[in-house]
């Protein structure tokens, strides 16, 4: 039949699936193993866990493998897997000050309380495409580790040079210590608007509730924590350079990458029990309040926290958190920015809807053609009466 492209049937679907599977399973090169993905594509795995809302590096790596590297598709696989599992309990709240810090920088002060701990980052390295031979690279790395005072994890192996001005050294052995936050310092200096609440509202579980504006701040934060990274970065940048804007640039108070324990109540003993460790990126952003009705003598702060090592996302989140608050969102009555965050940043929602445009739409399209013809017929009769047709308004369209 002439419209076969819109039809398929089971055979065609099976054939399409086979093309994917054959290309994948019969490829000349060996499979990219899960360990390789976890070790060498660490940031992609972290991103999939964050956007998928599930901490499990092996499952995330498997999803990336199956999705041929498409992070949104991999997040989808992870989330729909999670939807098959019943939820038995919620974990206990974590005090982020108890987290083991792997990296921590404080751009707002040269000498903040606690260390500037650069950790594992390429932030300060030239973006040069490294074409070093793999074996040579390994040889050099081994030599470097031998001579270093630090081992590959950044832990100290010798005290020989631990004297260098610690303000910018890749400092060590500090991971287990509690570091005083910049916000605490600002609070001591009476430079921070105090928005801490005395009540303890239950956080919104966005996987169970259909969150709509106006929403509580916890719902906005949770939505951003699971949002697509690129969507958050874009929303942030749009608010810097786009036609509308709520944000002016903030100063970062804390950027941390840390390990934190997951604790649940034991179903039999009723006592707390640690069931694992997750990594998260945490950002506190200091906003220089400049609104006419705002307290110009103080700063305010935004907060970002997401799974894995994903600083772009956590920074965008912290910026958008404070911007959303200033705009009247996040429990403050609702705002346009809040609606943008809640409704447009989810990777699965946006990508799924975009890709659905590939589905057949010939029933709806035929109906649209019918209206075009009806408008012409009406226009002809109008012309006959008035001498000129009324122009059609092209703005009304069907989105389906």
């Amino acid at each position: 039949m002439g419209y076969a492209a819109a039809r398929g049937g089971l055979d065609a679907i099976a054939a399409a699936e086979d093309l994917v599977r054959d290309a994948r399973d019969l490829a000349d090169s060996p499979w990219l193993g899960l360990d390789q993905l976890i070790d060498r594509q660490r940031l992609a795995v972290d991103r999939v866990m964050g956007e998928g809302g599930l901490w499990d590096p092996r499952l995330a790596a498997r999803a990336l493998q199956q999705a041929e590297g498409d992070t949104v598709e991999a997040s989808h696989l992870l989330r729909s897997y999670r939807a098959t599992l019943p939820r038995f309990s919620y974990s206990h709240p974590v005090d982020m000050d108890d987290a083991k810090v792997l990296r921590r920088i404080v751009p707002a002060f040269r000498n903040p309380p606690g260390p500037q701990l650069l950790g594992r980052t390429t932030d300060y390295t030239g973006r040069l495409l490294d074409r070093t031979d793999d074996d040579l690279a390994r040889e050099r790395a081994e030599k470097r580790v031998m001579e270093s005072t630090f081992d590959a994890d950044g832990d100290v192996v010798s005290n020989a040079t631990d004297t260098a001005g610690s303000a910018s050294s890749a400092s060590v052995g500090l991971g287990d210590r509690r570091h005083r936050r910049l916000l605490e310092v600002l609070r001591d200096m009476d430079l921070l608007v105090d928005r801490r609440r005395t009540d303890d509202p239950k956080p919104v579980d966005i996987t169970r509730a259909a969150v709509r504006p106006p929403a509580l701040r916890s719902a906005v934060l949770a939505t951003m924590a699971r949002a697509e990274t690129g969507a958050l970065v874009n929303l942030w940048y749009r608010n810097i350079l786009g036609p509308d804007g709520y944000i002016h640039e903030v100063t970062l108070g804390e950027v941390r990458h840390a390990e934190l324990p997951v604790t649940v109540t034991h179903p039999h003993t009723g006592g707390p029990v640690d069931i694992g460790v997750v990594r998260a990126t945490e950002v506190e952003a200091i906003e220089d309040l400049d609104g006419a009705d705002e307290d110009r003598t103080r700063f305010d702060a935004g907060y970002g926290l997401c799974f894995g090592h994903n600083e772009k996302k956590a920074i965008a989140m912290a910026n958008l958190d404070i911007a959303c608050h200033r705009d009247g969102g996040g429990g403050n009555g609702g705002s346009e920015l809040e609606q943008s965050i809640l409704m447009t940043t989810d990777g699965l929602d946006a990508s799924g809807f975009l890709e659905h445009l590939k589905l057949p739409h010939y029933v709806t399209f035929r109906s649209m053609v019918d209206r075009k013809m009806a408008m012409r017929a009406a226009g002809r009769s109008d012309t006959a009466v008035d001498g000129a047709p009324v122009p059609a308004d092209p703005r009304e369209g069907d989105c389906a």
Binding site: G2, G8, S367, A392
Partner: protein, 306 residues
């Protein structure tokens, strides 16, 4: 109406029971929704049935199909069907549409329900963009996949304000937009998903079904459930409910019609027909065919009145 409404609720309860029973019998059964999610869905469905046309929010789960590909309809169907159900799935009226095939496969493989292409055999019909040409009866449930559940989005973007408008039945701006449309264009140009007042109270988006299908929702004997997975909303038209397309007393509601159009295969004129573009190069070039393929096929096979 109350008799059929309670029948519908009984049917939903029975579906829940049958599903739980089948789970007890085969605990190894791997579904794509856990039982807690199904319970939540059933509660949302019951609320929707009790408040016709009201968009009930629910904690939409991630399905193994992308959002926008029928994830809302799929969740409703999975919450309804058990092993003794018979499911028909169509896309654009076609059982063989690629997405219909995929969804049908997911439903039958994970629930044990059987599949059919014949309307009269089905207990549940899941559909995208069409209502089958055959009249469904009071024992059948129609599940519609909804991309955009909000009928007022064209006149208001703010979600909090939209909530207020529905709560207060403030549909004035919708009426104004229809009036302006008529004045500017000579006709009301809304093509599919035509806004309808349900039970005299809530305005709904009739998914993007064509206007051809809209009158068939009015006082329909069957229950219609609308699922919008991406937007996390479920709404319903219970049996025997008023469904009135928004239009003016002196502007009759128009369905899609092309003078002289007649199905090239079965000869139908009173069916939703789709056009085969003139340049395709097949036998039906420049002609019309039924969008409901199983209806068309049965007409050709049985009565030869083409």
């Amino acid at each position: 109406m109350s008799a059929t409404l309670s029948e519908s609720i009984d049917r939903l309860d029975a579906a829940a029971e049958s599903r739980l029973d089948s789970l007890l019998e085969s605990p190894g059964d791997v579904g794509i929704l856990d039982e807690h999610a199904k319970r939540e869905l059933r509660r949302a469905i019951l609320t929707a049935v009790c408040v016709p046309g009201y968009q009930v929010p629910f904690g939409s789960r991630e399905m193994p199909v992308a959002r926008g590909w029928g994830s809302g309809g799929l969740q409703i169907t999975l919450a309804l069907v058990g092993a003794d159900d018979v499911v028909k799935v169509i896309d654009q009226g076609d059982d063989e549409g690629v997405n219909a095939v995929n969804l049908r496969r997911l439903v039958t493989e994970t629930t044990g329900a059987t599949e059919t292409t014949e309307v009269d055999e089905a207990t549940v019909v899941q559909t995208r963009h069409r209502i089958p040409e055959d009249e469904l009866d009071e024992h059948q449930t129609l599940v519609l996949q909804v991309p955009v559940p909000e009928p007022l989005r064209g006149v208001e973007r703010n979600i909090a304000e939209l909530g207020r408008m529905h709560a207060e039945a403030d549909y004035s701006r919708m009426w104004v937009s229809l009036y302006e449309d008529k004045v500017r264009n000579g006709v009301i140009t809304k093509s599919t998903g035509y806004p309808c007042l349900v039970g005299g109270r809530y305005v709904i988006a009739t998914t993007p079904i064509p206007r051809w299908d809209v009158p068939r929702l009015h006082h329909a004997p069957f229950l219609s459930l609308f699922g919008a997975g991406r937007e996390r909303k479920i709404y319903a038209i219970p049996p025997d409910t008023d469904v009135e397309p928004l239009t003016f007393d002196d502007v009759p509601f128009e369905v899609e019609r092309t003078a002289g159009a007649r199905c090239a295969l079965c000869g139908a004129t009173e069916a939703y027909l789709i056009e085969v573009p003139p340049s395709v190069g097949g036998a039906e070039d420049g002609r019309w065919i039924c969008s409901d393929t199983s209806w068309c096929r049965r007409r050709r096979a049985t009565d030869g009145d083409a």
